[in-house]
Subunit: 137 residues, 2 copies
DNA sequence: TCCTACGATGGACGGAATCCAAGTCAAGAA
DNA sequence: TTCTTGACTTGGATTCCGTCCATCGTAGGA
């Protein structure tokens, strides 16, 4: 993600301090932050950044394919900067911790044609759930 | 799901008219309703049922394992009464339509031990996305 | 340096879900 | 059958998450 800003500039992005800070927050963290968490971390460096701008920027990054939006539960969406390596997620049902995981095979190929009902299926998202070592005690 | 009410009674549920109506709505519909849709259908039979009661009852049914909660996107959760047959979901990214699907194999077995990071993994949920025949035009 | 269109701001707004205090009632007890 | 009680329901307030919008500011080209 280090050359993210260069790539964005190449796509005609106006490089504002707000966008730079949001991109840096995502770059530095290999976790899965909510929009509000991104806003909080961004505000440490740029105190007057608004929530609307964070939402706008995250939405743009998702549209550009630089960040993946993960809605694991009914709560706040999380933003995953690891967009260029296909992966799935493993979530602890105790504490909510999220890990990127790489299952075997391609989940998409497990859905036979007669189970697609005429849909043009383009994506398969797998969420594994269980207890992490800490929560399992 | 026909003997659902009997099972619930056996678990010490107080059998109120509201709970009966919510269970019947889910029983009769083999689709994936939102809480508000359940409330609307329930209100046809029991006009004064409140939204809070519908939320309470749905939450209890989920806790008891009689209904599955599906949070597909950032929208309203959907409630799937088909809880006793393992299945996955195929969602149209255009109109939001949901279908139950049965992929080959067991998704859980695709996650090798070294990718479990000490977690006790108990569930794998697969969401396929694509365009339905109507939206693909 | 100036211009201007694109981006930022923050407060209002909206949908979804939860919370809470007060009222109601299912079902066991007598 | 009636009584009693605690579980259940109610609906309005509240929270949470996210979007919208009119206005202001500024990045970057001329």
């Amino acid at each position: 993600m280090s050359d993210l800003l260069e790539r964005l500039r190449g796509r005609g992005w106006r490089l504002t301090s707000q966008r730079r800070v949001v991109a840096e927050v995502l770059d530095g963290e290999h976790v899965h932050l909510t929009a509000d968490e991104v806003h909080a971390r961004a505000a440490e460096r740029l105190p007057e950044i608004s929530r609307a701008t964070v939402y706008n920027t995250l939405g743009e990054l998702v549209t550009l394919g630089e960040v993946i939006e993960v809605s694991t539960d009914g709560r706040a969406k999380r933003y995953d900067p690891n967009a260029h390596r296909p992966h799935q997620h493993l979530i602890c049902t105790g504490c909510g911790a999220i890990r990127d995981v790489h299952p075997l095979g391609n989940p998409l190929s497990d859905l036979p044609t007669e189970q697609r009902f005429g849909f043009t299926v383009s994506q398969a998202e797998v969420t594994y759930r269980g207890l992490c070592p800490t929560c399992a005690g």
